[in-house]
Amino acid sequence: MASLNALIAVCLVYVFLLFCVAFLAERAGMKGRAGWLLRSPLVYTLSLSIYCTAWTFYGAVGYAARSGLEYVTIYLGPSLVIVGWWWILRRLVRIGRSHKVTSIADLISSRYGKSNALAIVVTVMAVIGVTPYIALQLQSVTSSLSIFAAAEQGGFNQGTEAASAALWIAIGLALFTVLFGTRNLNVNERHHGVVIAVAVEAVVKLIALLAVGVFVVWGIAGGVSETLARIDASALGTWQIDGSRWAGLTFVSAAAFLCLPRMFQVMVVENDDERHLQIASWAFPLYLMLMSLFVVPIAVIGLDLLPKGSNPDFFVLSLPLSQGREGLATLSFLGGFSSATSMVIVATLALSTMVSNHVVMPIFLYLRQGGATQSGDVRNVVLLSRRLSILGIIGLGYVYYQASGGSGALAAIGLISFAGVAQFLPAMLGGIFWRGATRIGALAGLGVGFALWVFTMLLPSFGPDVFLSAATFDNGLLGVGWLRPQALFGIPGMDPTIHAIFWSLLLNAVSFALVSLMTFPHPLERLQGAQFVNVFEHSAQTRGWQASVAESEDLMIMAQRILGASEAQRLFQAEAAGQGRRGYLPEPTPDFLQRLERELAGSVGAATAHAMIGQIVGGSSVSVQDLLAVADESAQMLEYSSQLEVKSRELSQTAAQLRNANAKLTQLSHQKDAFLSQISHELRTPMTSIRAFSEILRDTDGLGAIEKAKYANIIHVEAIRLTRLLDDLLDLSVLENGQVTLNMQTGSLVDLLDRAIATAQASEARNIRIDRRRLEETVELHTDLDRLGQVFINLITNAQKYCGADDPVLKIAVSRQGEAVVVDFMDNGPGIPRASRDVMFEKFSRIGAEDSNGAGLGLAICREIMTRLGGDVTYLDGTGGTAFRVVLPQAQALAAQ
């Protein structure tokens, strides 16, 4: 037992070392160091080797021992896929990166309109499909321990010891995975530490297998030629190649390589650089070739040397042990252990991501939404659900291991898993190559394929009478003959594995295609489909044009339309000159096309520019996404232009206002000029008389007394005129500026008119007869009596001066207009011509009164006063003579009559 304990100790140390490597790598990655290593194509290639699990490590030899070279198909499939990486893998990686895909379930659900139902279906299928595989790893580690134990003391007691060993191994693996994979959360679901650990394990298992191989060929057989001779002599050399099995197995392993959740994890999710695929495309097949190099020699020598009945699955281990090479056996054990652990870790990590993202979290969020709002950290919930998922998945593996009784060849169990996950292939490939694929189609295909796989492969794998009765095997489900699990549709004689793979995948693909054709995708699905299928046209890395067919002239015409003729010609000419060509048409190099696209984008938006160039260059058709982007841009432009429109409307309004204001200002300025001219004239005219006559009086000798008196009187009159003019101007200015303070008093209208008439008659030589009805005038007013009196005096004086009738009469009539008091002044003269009425209230407007020496300010002042008093003075039409109406507002007419 000492050596078994030592083996366990070695395992623990090995695991601890791996953990250290992972930890250091993660820390370096976080600090941004060691990027050359973490993101190297070598690490990527080595991480792909988790394809080679314990099944490959141990089982390939067993496979070869049982079925000859058929094991090669398991390596052939992946090699074909990765050699043809350009076709599928590159596309998957590009989609995975541009859509931040976290798992194969995420990819499929995302492609079909982010359907959560689909994600759950894929997750459940993946868990069920991968469980046998995890059980396989448990079995291989347990069995290898058992081989060691057998070498010492005759093997485990199958009933208890193996079971407890398997349980401990399962617990250890679960802890290991939890520690490795869920120490922290990463948005991209990337695990640098895990990947590095996996790469290290890949190296360990390769070295172990090569070491065993070298030992077998040179240590036991004694050289290459001896080994070849032994191979020729063995039964292996005569194995017939079964074409259908070869094709079927190659196909299913290729499909599994693409669809296995753990492969998707390392290949797509953990991919740092698309170019790594290029290296991996030859490095990974090389790795596989090295892994398979010594499979046949080990199988042949093992069959030769080891006793009949030895499990060929463990020749890798038992051969060195039988030769007493414990060290080599330990290395070999570590290789197998590495294969098993790396697979379990990555597979459970990938599955737990799916389970937690697509099953647990939606349920949790749904429940939380229903309950009271908690402020719990979702992060912790995610981590917890990850860890529980890991435990659950490994637990399932353990249960399967127990249920399947730990029996069965490794290769057979592996193939069950392969065929199970291969059911994702139609939905996945259809999703990335065929835009017509729909969600319902994917669900149908997956459902049919999965059901057939369960019925024809998974359930029968437990043997008769475990899940399926022996009767079902023989007579079909429910006794229907063509529903026999290993001879569907009544076609017997097929190899059970090939039978299952053939029917499940065929009907899967057919239902997927047919249902897709019959259903219509909803818009989100359509959009996602377009993006997935056209991933290369859309992702940034391939935006460059390859325009060998581009027509420069067409481009020129388009550019002219958008940029304007001169701008476009300048651009093209400059480019042509730069290329050393004459004229204005340059070679449409990708660089130039890109520059042109940028220029156009400045005018019409990036998406439109891209679509336009795409149309002309012909390299790409305009896709739904392009159109959506164009529509988006157009909407933005529309909004922008409507904003511009509003702005320009506002601007033109402002401009109109400005124009009006300017016109007003100009008018005011003209008015001011005219006003100043008028004032100047009004002031200078009396001054001219005063100066002229004062000079005459001063300079003229011998003037008669009468003349002297006459001239002095003129000076006097003109001086008074001048003074009155100044008074009026000041008055008007005060009134116009609103600086006047009203002196509100109470008095009767009749008294006010009496005083006004008296004043007017005193100041004006020409008299006029006044016709009034005093009774009407008994109205009490509360207003500025002096100002109102000024208005009355002005109107009466005007009538006196300008009436012009032979028997001038001024009629003063007082009436009520509602609450307002109306005073009309009507003379019997010829009236005022219509044309003059508009301007008579303006300053300096004198109406045909040649002999007046008034300045034309009287009526302007009257109007200003009445405005201040809250009333009005207007010309009253239709009386025959000149008539003015003074209206006093009601508030100023007191009720007392």
């Binding site: 100047s680 004239h681 005219t685 001054m687 001219t688 006559f693 000079e695 005459i696 300079d699 003129i714």
Partner: protein, 127 residues
């Protein structure tokens, strides 16, 4: 023999003053106070000099001057223009219209006399 001066002016007191001044110098002073037919009156009466106010009822002094300059018989007629508006623009307008002498009111009596004398003398020299 007394020269004939026609005074076109609407302010009675100013007419009185100018008439007094020019009459004392021995010139025959005639007056007219309406702008509308002033040019026609001038052509009819054929004065040796016109003293023209700017702000006249009916037609402005500028228009009358232009009309005078547009007729052959009055294109060289000496015109002394008087204005109470006193803006520099008025002087420019008057000069453009072909005024012989331009003065702003209130004027100095001596200046008016000198101006009239000059104009009559220069005009007399020429013809």
């Amino acid at each position: 023999m007394g020269k004939h001066v026609l005074l076109v002016e609407d302010e009675l007191n100013i007419i009185e003053a100018i008439r007094f001044l020019l009459s004392r110098e021995g010139w025959q002073v005639d007056t007219h106070s309406n702008g509308t037919d002033a040019a026609q009156i001038i052509r009819e009466r054929k004065p040796d000099l016109v003293v023209l106010d700017v702000m006249l009822p009916g037609k402005s002094g500028f228009d009358i001057l232009e009309e005078l300059r547009g007729h052959e018989e009055t294109e060289d007629l000496p015109v002394l223009m008087l204005t109470a508006r006193g803006q520099s623009r008025d002087r420019e307008m008057a000069e453009k219209a072909g005024v012989s002498r331009f003065m702003t009111k209130p004027f100095s009596n001596t200046e008016v006399l000198t101006a009239v004398r000059d104009l009559l003398y220069v005009h007399g020299q020429r013809t």
